[in-house]
């Protein structure tokens, strides 16, 4: 009997058909499998062309760009405040982080100092956004391994977060929250009530979710030691955010380069060890708890005072003022018509997005729109590592790895 060497290393040699010996002939060829572009497990539109040897993945290649919307080009014709609506659509699972990231970039260019109250409100909304982002990722990881329950429980809580968004800015998914220079309105008593209610109601659900998954034998068998990546490789591949922390590197923009008063809050940075899917899952779970801690601290210590900075050329004046005050009318007109010239400058600002370092590289030549705007999109950079991570695993593992990387198509393509 001829025993076949099924190891991945031998696959290359197996590509060329050997002369058959004996009556049984094996088909020594690889199967090409299209995973995507529209596959329920990709959770977005991107394609993976996998070379399969039976159930094993030999190599993979990604095709992306299916929802490329040329945000960088569009930005070159838009006044600054209109660019924010574009950032919503990048990581649409945590839009407020993108919104405020862009606001802070412009504020850095202008040299505007935002009052504490606005910074705290931003922190609250950004951390809620991070929670909802991680809830989606971890909930869907459950679905991809065949457990729908956790997803269902968590999405009810995500709905609560969206209710808070709605209360704060009127929108749910593409929030366009805040303004350059602060928030568009103060937190209403109803919003504060909803945030407090969320802080109270969410932990039991999260604990239940964790008790369902964290030590679940079936779940662990599926994800432990699947898709591991070493810290060194992860850094080389430009990983940031939870995926990098799962590999054991404690890099978090909120701590390294604090923005929007993050230095005022006490929270921990969870890190994993092996960088496998289980670590990524656990890091995200722990980050949800830490984000909740930050929201708690921020809502308890919410400072009094104005919720927007004195930046009349960028921050829309209150509507009542516009009706009776000449200056307010002029500024209102200039802002809405996009007739404000920005100062010349070159600025890079990064925030900790749901998936990692979300950077904005803005070059202004003194015009009304950016001369060049580039988004550093964490998904786009770390998704390159996917073929390396899934090489030698099975198809079902590849699905789980992709899911735990939390690749958001909107952010991937911009």
């Amino acid at each position: 009997m001829v025993t076949e060497d099924l190891s991945i290393d031998a696959v290359g040699a197996r590509n060329t058909p050997a002369t058959p010996e004996g009556p049984i002939q094996y088909v020594n060829e690889l199967t090409t499998l299209n995973l995507g572009p529209t596959h329920p497990a990709t959770h977005g539109i991107f394609q993976n062309i996998l070379q399969m040897d039976g159930e094993k993945i030999v190599s993979g290649e990604q095709t992306i760009g299916y929802i490329h919307r040329a945000f960088e080009k569009i930005s070159e014709r838009r006044p600054f405040y209109q660019i924010k609506t574009l950032t919503d659509r990048m990581n649409y699972c945590s839009s407020p982080i993108n919104n405020f990231g862009w606001d802070m970039t412009v504020e850095k260019l202008l040299g505007v100092e935002v009052p504490k109250r606005a910074q705290y409100i931003r922190v609250i909304m950004m951390e809620l956004a991070r929670i909802s982002d991680h809830l989606i990722c971890n909930g869907i990881l459950g679905v991809d391994t065949g457990a729908f329950t956790g997803f269902l429980y968590l999405f009810e809580q995500r709905e609560e977060i969206y209710e808070i968004y709605e209360e704060v800015c009127g929108a749910r998914l593409t929030t366009n929250m805040g303004r350059i220079g602060g928030m568009e309105r103060d937190l209403s008593p109803e919003a504060i009530r909803k945030i407090r209610k969320f802080i109270k109601d969410f932990p039991p659900v999260m604990r239940e979710f964790e008790s369902l998954f964290n030590r679940n034998r079936i779940f662990m068998d599926r994800i432990v030691d699947v898709g591991g990546i070493s810290a060194e490789r992860a850094l080389n591949y430009g990983f940031t955010g939870p995926n990098l922390r799962a590999a054991g590197v404690d890099y978090d923009v909120r701590v390294m380069n604090p923005y929007s008063s993050y230095e005022d809050f006490e929270f921990d940075i969870p890190v994993g060890k092996s960088g496998d899917t289980y670590d990524r899952f656990m890091v995200r779970n722990e980050e949800i708890w830490q984000s909740l801690r930050i929201v708690e601290q921020a809502i308890e210590n919410l400072p009094e005072g104005p919720y927007f900075a004195d930046a009349p050329e960028y921050y829309l004046p209150p509507k009542q003022e516009v009706y009776k005050n000449m200056e307010a009318l002029i500024y209102h007109f200039k802002i809405v018509m996009g007739e404000i010239d920005a100062p010349v400058g070159e600025v890079y600002h990064a925030v900790e997005g749901g998936n990692g370092e979300l950077g904005f590289y803005l070059i202004s030549d003194g015009g009304r729109a950016p001369y060049r705007l580039h988004f550093r999109r964490p998904c786009f950079i770390y998704y390159q590592a996917f073929p390396e991570m899934c090489k030698g695993t099975t198809l079902s593992d590849a699905i789980v790895i992709m899911s735990s990387l939390n690749v958001i198509a909107g952010e991937l393509d911009a």
Partner: protein, 166 residues
Amino acid sequence: MLTNEAVAQDIIGRFGESVSDFDDPFDLLTLTVSREQLIPLLQYLRDHKTFQIGFLTDLTGVHYPDSPGREFCVVYHLHSLINNYRIRLKVFVAEDDIHIPTATVIYESANWMERETFDFFGIIFDGHPKLERILNMDEMDYFPMRKQYPLEDGTREDKIDALFGR
């Protein structure tokens, strides 16, 4: 804690003529390096004992059609996670010699970022393992982020550049 001054002095001491235009907008050390010395500089910054600037945060291109001989700029944002220090490198290339060595030899993450830069600006990264379009369709025969391609329909008069600040 690294200071911009110290890092700049060290780089000048090592690379002399090849580095120029030192600046620190918003406290981020920015410098221009010649195309030939780019890879040695990236290598030097990564392997330096104290700097350890070994994380490629971002790589992108910029088009300056009005500066002859320096039409295209490739911008590298590097980060030292150990010292929490960022640096920005720029390489200028001319339109008729639009080549630049690839950084994929040092950073795996440069792969797609260089492809994206090629896709939008047509900058050719010599030695790149697979320099193909990544976000746009393969059939596209121009590089859309170049400034000569206006976003709006040029024949419309209600949207002239003057109204929009350009």
